[in-house]
Amino acid sequence: MNLTRTVQDRLNETLPYDELLPAEQPAYVHSYVYLFGIGTLASFLLLIVSGIILSMFGPQWWHSSTIGHFFNSIHFWSVQAFFFFMVLHLWTAFFQGAWRDGRGLTWVSGVITFTVSILTAFTGYLSQQNFDAQWIAVQGKDAINSSGVGAFFDVLNFGQMYGFHIVILPLAVASLMGVHLLLVRLRGVVRPYPLGRPGEEQES
C-alpha cells in the first residue's frame, strides 16, 4: 500500500484546486457584504508584516525610533482595521444565517478565530512597554486571576505575554483562519433565505 498515493488521492478528492480557488461564484456573491472577510484577511497580512518588522528590532525599538514608531502605528491601525472588518463579517454572517445547510463548523471556526484574535490583541497591548501595558496588566489581572488562569498566564510577566503575542497566538489565528477559509471554499457560501415569510418554507 502506497501511503503517499493514498494521501494524494484523498486530497485530490476532497481538495480539488477548482474548489479552493473557484473562478465562478453564485451571482449574489457580487456584493460589498462579501468583502468584509477578505478585508479581515488583508488586515491580518499587514499585521503579520508590521509585526515581524517590530519584533526584528525588539520590543523597545519603537519607543526611541521614528521609523519604529511609524511601523508601530501601521501595526496599531492594522489592528483597528482587522477588528473593524472582522466584526462586520461576523455580523453579516449572523444576519445571513451563514451556518445553515451543513456550515456549522465554518461558523464555529470563525467564532473561535474571533475569540483567539481578541486574546492576541490583549497580549499585544500588554507587550507595548508603555503606560497602556502597565494599566491593562494591573487592571486585567483581577479578571484573569478570578478565573484561575492567572496562575499560569501572568499578565504582569512581559516575557510570557510577548511570547504569546508574537509566536503562539498569531500561529493559532493564522491556522484557524486557514481552517475557516478552507471550510468556506469547500462548502461554498450559503444560499439566501427563501422568499416568503418564516415558516412558510422548509429549512434544514
Partner: protein
C-alpha cells in the same frame, strides 16, 4: 464544481469571479487606509510610570505603601492566589472559586520582596541600616507590628515638602531608619531595579514592580485621567484621542450592569461574574447553529432581505424553477 455543490446551487445564477484579484484589491485599499491613518494620526505611546516617579511625586504615599507591604496590610499582601495564601481578593460564586482551586503559583512575600530583601541588598555599605534590619528581623511579630503601627500613625501626621517627608518622632524602633532608606532607594530609581531582580541575569518579568505600583494607587490615579478605569468603560478606551478596544464592548458592559455592579455579586465576584457571563455568551455564539430558536433568529430579523436584495429582485423577475424555496 463538486457534484454536491452543483446540486446545492441548482437554480442559482452564477457569474465569473476573481478571488485573487479581489484579495489584491482589498490588500491595496486596506494598506492605503492604514498608511493614511498612520501618517496623519500616528499611534499612542504614553510613557510608563516608574517607582522612582511615584516616590518623588508622592513620597508619603510611597512610604505608606512600603510600610503596608512590610506589615502585611497592603492590597497584594492580602490578595490571595496566585500570589499568596490570603483571601482578600479571592472571588467566588457560591462554591465555584477557580482562583482558590488554582492555588499559589507566583509567590509574592510582600515584606521580604518589597522591603526586607531590597534593604538587605544595600545594607552592606550602611552599618546603621544593617543594625536596624537585624533589630527588626530578630524582634517578635508582635513587636514588629507595634513598630509599623506606630510608624503608620506618625506618617499620618507627617509634613510633606516637595519630595521630602518629615515624619514626627515615634516609638517606631528600626522602622524609621528602614523607611527613610526605602524612600532614598525609591527616589533614586534603585527600587525599580531591585524589584526586578529574580534568579538569573536577564529580566523579563515585571510582576513584582507592577504589583507594588498597583498597591501605591498611582497607576489607577494616572489611568483615571485617560478615562481608563473600569467605571469609565476603560477596557474600551485608549490613552490620548485614539480608538480603543471597541470589540470588547460586551465584556466591559457586564461591569456596568446589574447584578455585576452591585452587592453581593460586585463584592464577592466583581470580575468572576463578568468572566463567567462572557464565557457563557461566547459559548452561546459558538454553538448558535445548533441552538433551537436562536439559529432561526436571522430569518425573523429580516436583515438578510437588505443583504440579498438584488438576488431577490432578480428572483422575482425570472420564472420559478422546481428548486425555488427549497434548501438542501
Amino acid at each position: 464544481m463538486m457534484a454536491r455543490k452543483k446540486l446545492y446551487y441548482r437554480g442559482v445564477p452564477t457569474a465569473p469571479y476573481d478571488l485573487v484579484k479581489e484579495f489584491l484589491a482589498a490588500l491595496l485599499v486596506v494598506t492605503v487606509l492604514v498608511l493614511l491613518f498612520t501618517v496623519f494620526l500616528s499611534s499612542p505611546d504614553e510613557p510608563p510610570l516608574s517607582i522612582k516617579q511615584v516616590a518623588q511625586q508622592d513620597p508619603a504615599g510611597f512610604l505608606q505603601t512600603s510600610v503596608g507591604e512590610l506589615n502585611g496590610s497592603s492590597g497584594i499582601a492580602g490578595y490571595g492566589p496566585p500570589y499568596n495564601n490570603s483571601s482578600g481578593s479571592v472571588q467566588e460564586l457560591g462554591p465555584f472559586s477557580p482562583q482558590r482551586w488554582a492555588g499559589v503559583h507566583i509567590p509574592v512575600n510582600t515584606a521580604q520582596d518589597y522591603v526586607l530583601g531590597p534593604l538587605s541588598q544595600v545594607s552592606f555599605a550602611n552599618p546603621a541600616l544593617s543594625r536596624a534590619l537585624t533589630q527588626y528581623n530578630t524582634a517578635s511579630a508582635g513587636q514588629q507590628g507595634k513598630w509599623t503601627d506606630a510608624y503608620t500613625t506618625a506618617l499620618g501626621k507627617a509634613t510633606v515638602n516637595g519630595s521630602s517627608v518629615s515624619v514626627p518622632s515615634c516609638a517606631c524602633g528600626p522602622v524609621t531608619r528602614m523607611m527613610s532608606t526605602m524612600l532614598q532607594l525609591g527616589q533614586r530609581g534603585a527600587m525599580d531595579g531591585l524589584l526586578l531582580t529574580t534568579p538569573g541575569y536577564y529580566q523579563t518579568d515585571y510582576t513584582r514592580p507592577l504589583l507594588f505600583l498597583a498597591d501605591s494607587g498611582a497607576v489607577a490615579a494616572h489611568a483615571s485621567q485617560f478615562h481608563l478605569l473600569g467605571t469609565q468603560w476603560g477596557v474600551m478606551n485608549e490613552t490620548g484621542n485614539y480608538p480603543g478596544q471597541a470589540w470588547l464592548w460586551l465584556y466591559t458592559t457586564f461591569y456596568q450592569i446589574w447584578p455585576f455592579n452591585t452587592s453581593p455579586m460586585g463584592t464577592a465576584a466583581g470580575d468572576l461574574g463578568p468572566v463567567v457571563a462572557i464565557m457563557f455568551f461566547t459559548l452561546l455564539l459558538t454553538f448558535l447553529p445548533w441552538i433551537p430558536g436562536l439559529n432561526r433568529l436571522p430569518r425573523y430579523l429580516g436583515v438578510y432581505r437588505l443583504i440579498w436584495k438584488d438576488y431577490y429582485r432578480a428572483q422575482k423577475r425570472r420564472p420559478a424553477t422546481p428548486t425555488d424555496g427549497v434548501q438542501s
